[in-house]
C-alpha cells in the first residue's frame, strides 16, 4: 500500500519536472529566438498602450474625484504657492531664452548650427514599474525613432537611449540603470570620468584624490551639450587613492511624463 503511494508520488513529481523542463525550453526559446520575440513584442504592443492609457484615465478620474474633498484653505494656499513658483519659473525661462538666443547666434557665427530632429513622446510606463529601469514611450518607428537614439528630458537633460522600437512605441534604457557605464565630464575643470549607474537616476564615479570637485558641480555629456546631473555628495578617505562622487539627475525620474527623442543622434 505504502509502496503504491510512493509510486504515484514519484510519477507526479516526474510529471511536474517534465512540465517544468518543457516550460523552461519554451520560455527561453521565445526570449532568445529574436524573430519570435520581436513578433510577440510587436503583438503585445498593439494592446499594451491602450491598457496603460486606460489605467492613466482611471487614475486621473480618481484624483479629480478626491480633489473635491480637499480642504478649501489648503487649496487656496497651494494655489498661492504655485503662482509664486510660476512667476519664478517664468523669469528663469526668460533668462534661459536669452541665453539660448546668444548660443544660437554664436553657433551661427562659428558655422556650427545644431539641427536636432526632436520627437516629443509621452511616457506610458515609468521605471518604477519596470525591473529593468526602462521607460516605455508612445512614439516609435513610425515617428522615425531608431535604436540608439538619445532621449532627453526638459530639453537638455540626457536620460537614456532607445533599445527597442515598435511602430507606435519604444523602450528607453536609462543611463542610470544599475551597472551602466557612461563617459561624462565633471565640473568646470572638465574632468573626464566613467559614471556608473546606480538606478532611479543615481550615478557614482571615482576621481583621483587630488581632483578639484565640489558638491553642486555639473556633470555633462562628453560633447558638453547635455546635462547628466549635479554632484550631490563626495566620499573621500585619506587612505584611498580615489574619492567617490555621487550624483543624480536634477529631477525625480519617476515623475517624468514626457521626453524628447533626438532622432539619429547617438551618444
Amino acid at each position: 500500500m505504502i509502496h503504491r503511494r510512493d509510486n504515484s508520488n514519484n510519477k507526479s513529481i516526474s510529471g511536474k519536472n517534465i512540465t517544468l523542463a518543457v516550460l523552461v525550453a519554451v520560455s527561453f526559446f521565445i526570449l532568445l529566438y529574436a524573430p519570435l520575440r520581436n513578433t510577440i513584442t510587436q503583438t503585445v504592443y498593439v494592446i499594451a498602450p491602450t491598457v496603460w492609457g486606460f489605467g492613466d484615465r482611471v487614475t486621473d478620474a480618481r484624483d479629480s474625484f478626491f480633489a473635491n474633498f480637499r480642504n478649501r484653505d489648503f487649496l487656496v494656499k497651494e494655489n498661492e504657492m504655485l503662482l509664486i513658483e510660476v512667476d519664478r519659473m517664468e523669469a528663469q525661462v526668460l533668462d534661459r531664452n536669452l541665453l539660448a538666443e546668444k548660443v544660437t547666434k554664436l553657433e551661427e557665427a562659428l558655422g556650427r548650427v545644431r539641427s536636432d530632429n526632436r520627437v516629443v513622446a509621452d511616457v506610458v510606463a515609468g521605471p518604477g514599474r519596470s525591473p529593468y529601469d526602462t521607460l516605455v514611450i508612445d512614439a516609435g518607428a513610425e515617428e522615425g525613432i531608431n535604436i540608439g537614439d538619445v532621449v532627453v528630458y526638459s530639453g537638455s537633460s540626457i536620460i537614456g537611449e532607445i533599445v527597442e522600437t515598435a511602430p507606435a512605441s519604444s523602450k528607453v534604457k536609462l543611463y542610470s540603470s544599475p551597472g551602466e557605464e557612461q563617459f561624462v565630464i565633471v565640473g568646470q575643470r572638465n574632468l573626464p570620468v566613467v559614471a556608473l549607474g546606480r538606478g532611479m537616476g543615481n550615478f557614482e564615479a571615482k576621481v583621483p584624490q587630488d581632483s578639484v570637485v565640489a558638491v553642486g558641480d555639473s556633470i555633462v555629456s562628453v560633447k558638453g551639450d547635455l546635462i547628466f546631473g549635479t554632484v550631490s555628495s563626495i566620499e573621500e578617505k585619506p587612505a584611498e587613492p580615489f574619492k567617490r562622487l555621487f550624483f543624480r539627475a536634477p529631477f525625480n525620474i519617476t515623475e517624468i511624463r514626457s521626453v524628447e527623442v533626438i532622432a539619429d543622434k547617438h551618444f
Binding site: 517544468l20 526570449l31 518604477g128 525591473p131 516605455v136 523602450k171
Partner: protein, 82 residues
C-alpha cells in the same frame, strides 16, 4: 479554479499598473498558495516582453528567470512545511 482565475487577473493588472516588486510579492504568494502555479512563467515572459529588451541585463530575461526561481523556491518551501 475561480479563485485561480481571479488571482491571475489581479496579477495581470499588477504587471501593467504596479511596481515590479508588488508583482514579485503577489507572484510569490501565488506560487506558494496555489497548486503548481505554472502561470508565473507566463507573467515572467510578459514582464520581459513589456519592459525588457535583448540588450538589457540577463539578455532581457530577468522576469522569466525570476519567475523560475520563485516557482522552484515555492515548490521546495511547500514540501518543507507539509
Amino acid at each position: 479554479m475561480k479563485k485561480r482565475v481571479i488571482f491571475d487577473l489581479v496579477l495581470l493588472g499588477a504587471v501593467f499598473y504596479t511596481p515590479w516588486w508588488t508583482v514579485a510579492i503577489l507572484a510569490s504568494l501565488g506560487a506558494f498558495l496555489l497548486p503548481p502555479y505554472y502561470e508565473i512563467i507566463a507573467f515572467g515572459i510578459l514582464i520581459d516582453i513589456l519592459y525588457g529588451a535583448r540588450s538589457l541585463s540577463l539578455g532581457g530575461m530577468l522576469g522569466t528567470v525570476a519567475a523560475f526561481i520563485i516557482f522552484l523556491t515555492a515548490s521546495y518551501a511547500k514540501k518543507a512545511v507539509r
